[in-house]
Symmetry: C2
Subunit: 211 residues, 2 copies
Amino acid sequence: MTEIIFNQDDFPYLDKYFRRNLINCLSGFKSLNLVGSKGKDEQLNLAPFSQIIHVGATPALMGMLVRPDSVPRHTLTNILETGYYTFNHVKEEFFKEAHQCSARYEQSEFEATGIEPYFSDEHPAPYVKEASLKVGLKFEERQDLKINGTIFIIGSVIEIIIPEDCLNTDGYIDIEKAGSLTCSGLDAYHVTQRLARLSYAKPDQLLKELD
Amino acid sequence: MTEIIFNQDDFPYLDKYFRRNLINCLSGFKSLNLVGSKGKDEQLNLAPFSQIIHVGATPALMGMLVRPDSVPRHTLTNILETGYYTFNHVKEEFFKEAHQCSARYEQSEFEATGIEPYFSDEHPAPYVKEASLKVGLKFEERQDLKINGTIFIIGSVIEIIIPEDCLNTDGYIDIEKAGSLTCSGLDAYHVTQRLARLSYAKPDQLLKELD
């Protein structure tokens, strides 16, 4: 197998667009969520994010990385001003509309793309009605990275809405069955096919495949 | 569609194992990497991580979230002591061995699982020879989250090794063609199938599918 090697001395000489694509692919497949929020002016905002990670189960915490607020960043502003936001898994049925939410609209992305909002009684920010999984969050902590000014936002989970037939008895949510997509790079969308769930690994013990 | 709703008042009453599975599924599909490092004693370490995200393209930066070091965490110790580590995408051919690397071995996970290390001339930490994509990193910054003590580690990319036939002319790396897997929850592994790459989104402009 022939391989291409880039090292850090090459990076400054790469075309800017080429480098953005290249570096954005390195982490592997990504979480794909539409983040819903509401402005102080009541305008509903929706933006796709792929830098979202699990932070802890007890308490239930999730993190998202947001680029510096040197240009208008409605999502970040809304989270910091109102304290509430939602994560919504994207399905094949609306992945193009989800991608379109990354355009710089002045109006609400819900109106611009036709994605329908959904409000629960327990959470003030808008969910995406058709999302395969919905998570309501409350802002908890902000960490500003010294090295490039990106902002890591940590929120606590206050509500989870799951299709009933996708929740296994052991708590595992079958997000593939629910239709959640993954993404790679800046613009590629993928469905998945499960190979297996594997038992907890211990030294000198054979792995089993779980149901 | 019938839905199940959990809210934060339910969490304390959920079985601990159920809750861990549930909350770990919320972020969606995850990055799946084996992280390679070397101890001061020269022992090679390899551990699976799914909390890895893109941090920036210029400079090229990646982040990983590590649980608190209340129990031995060889990867974190090695990164902080030596400054170097690698990310390696996992393929179907060795995903069970990759999962097995999460067991608490005293010996090197390379020896315990039979995964073969690879060393480049440019980077001191071990890569995984069979990985579909290899990234060499240098430690840059550490952020300790106040809320639960997890540690966000930021590294700069100093080397990238890619199969030649998986690099598109625009810099996009076809990690699906390379065979990289994604994972969900704590223990599920998935292959992917690409739906499309979509053009940069602008208001009032139709999206195109890219090649």
